[in-house]
């Protein structure tokens, strides 16, 4: 029993130390990087994954689409509509196949936005494909 009490106290100490370390406010990026390095967590590679995720997902900003459309003379917003119309009659397999065709090689971030495609419903898949197509159009427009 006495041993159990000690274990209880031990767990509380370990757990609270973890909480306290998490709550340290870091002022600089270097400070954070150093802490993460000590914990064997690679911030740079994690940031790269995050940026890929953000590129795939920061496409909901209609203003950006409008601005790009203006600059390039292409109505990207209209592009979304025509893509939606094109996808409307597609089967689930066809949508998944097109997503795989357009997507970059699987990585940590890609898997966050595109996990288990087969388990998703057709509406979500169509919406994801729409976003992907628009994102590619946008990138092409940006390059021009």
């Amino acid at each position: 029993m006495k041993k159990d009490e000690e274990i209880k106290k031990g767990i509380l100490l370990i757990s609270t130390l973890a909480d306290a370390l998490a709550e340290i406010e870091c002022k600089t990026q270097e400070e954070i990087q150093l802490d993460l390095k000590k914990e064997r967590v690679d911030l740079n590679s994690s940031m790269l994954s995050l940026n890929k995720f953000l590129r795939l997902n920061s496409i909901g900003d209609e203003k950006k689409h409008e601005r790009l459309a203006k600059n390039t003379g292409k109505a990207l917003k209209m592009g979304r509509k025509s893509i939606a119309e094109k996808i409307a009659g597609w089967s689930k397999d066809k949508i998944i196949s097109r997503i795989n065709e357009l997507s970059p090689e699987p990585d940590a971030v890609y898997s966050a936005s595109c996990r288990k495609l087969e388990d998703k419903n057709i509406k979500d898949l169509a919406s994801f494909l729409e976003d992907l197509e628009i994102s590619l159009q946008k990138r092409k427009a940006e390059k021009k």
Binding site: I11, L12, L13, A20, A22, S46, S58, A108, V109
Partner: protein, 200 residues
């Protein structure tokens, strides 16, 4: 309530180079709560990235979190809450965790908690439900870690006081600083020293 897509516009303003490292750091230490389990680890990067995926409306299994900027303008605070919830969920999932996953010989499902918080009692349930050999190993891990933390404090008066606060469950550095009457930056230094020494 479905995912509010207008949040995406608010997210465009977020400086992820500032926010994400802080989030990843937070997730890293929150996952360290379970270091004593030995073979089971929570991946902080997956947890941090899942938190971001959730506020973008594309979390695992179609899950999402609506960030209400007017109610919680500090996105880091909001994301930390999401991380807490994810870590808690991971722990909850261990309710039906197979003993074999803990590197034991038995193949039974073990109920290790009755609610998703990390109360000491839940951990105790977990320990007592494990295979005796594994239970012994985990208890040994705990004893070793506690010993290391106490040794790390050594004879330093303030470090000992910090450990004493932690033992009482005081886990906010500012509260620890108030409790023992030192500056919070000193508490930060002591906490980091403790962490460094126990990892050696």
């Amino acid at each position: 309530m479905s995912f509010n897509t207008s949040i995406i516009k608010d997210l465009e303003d977020v400086d992820w180079n500032y926010v994400y490292p802080r989030l990843l750091r937070y997730a890293t230490y929150k996952c360290r709560k379970f270091a004593w389990l030995g073979t089971v680890t929570f991946d902080p990067e997956s947890i941090a990235q899942e938190a971001v995926a959730l506020i973008y409306g594309c979390g695992k299994n179609g899950n999402y979190r609506n960030w209400d900027r007017s109610k919680c303008p500090d996105i880091i605070k909001f994301l930390k809450g999401v991380v807490d919830s994810l870590v808690s969920h991971e722990y909850e999932k261990m309710k039906t965790f197979k003993i074999e996953s803990l590197d034991c010989k038995k193949h039974t499902d073990v109920d290790i908690s009755h609610d998703p918080d990390f109360s000491v009692m839940n951990f105790m349930d977990f320990l007592s439900a494990a295979d005796p050999a594994k239970e012994l190993e985990m208890k040994e891990n705990i004893s070793q870690m506690v010993k290391s933390i106490r040794n790390a404090a050594g004879e330093n008066k303030y470090a000992k006081l910090v450990v004493s606060c932690l033992e009482q469950g005081i886990g906010k550095p500012r509260e620890i600083a108030d409790e023992i009457g030192i500056d919070v930056t000193e508490v930060y230094q002591i906490l980091r020293r403790l962490r460094e020494k126990i990892s050696k």
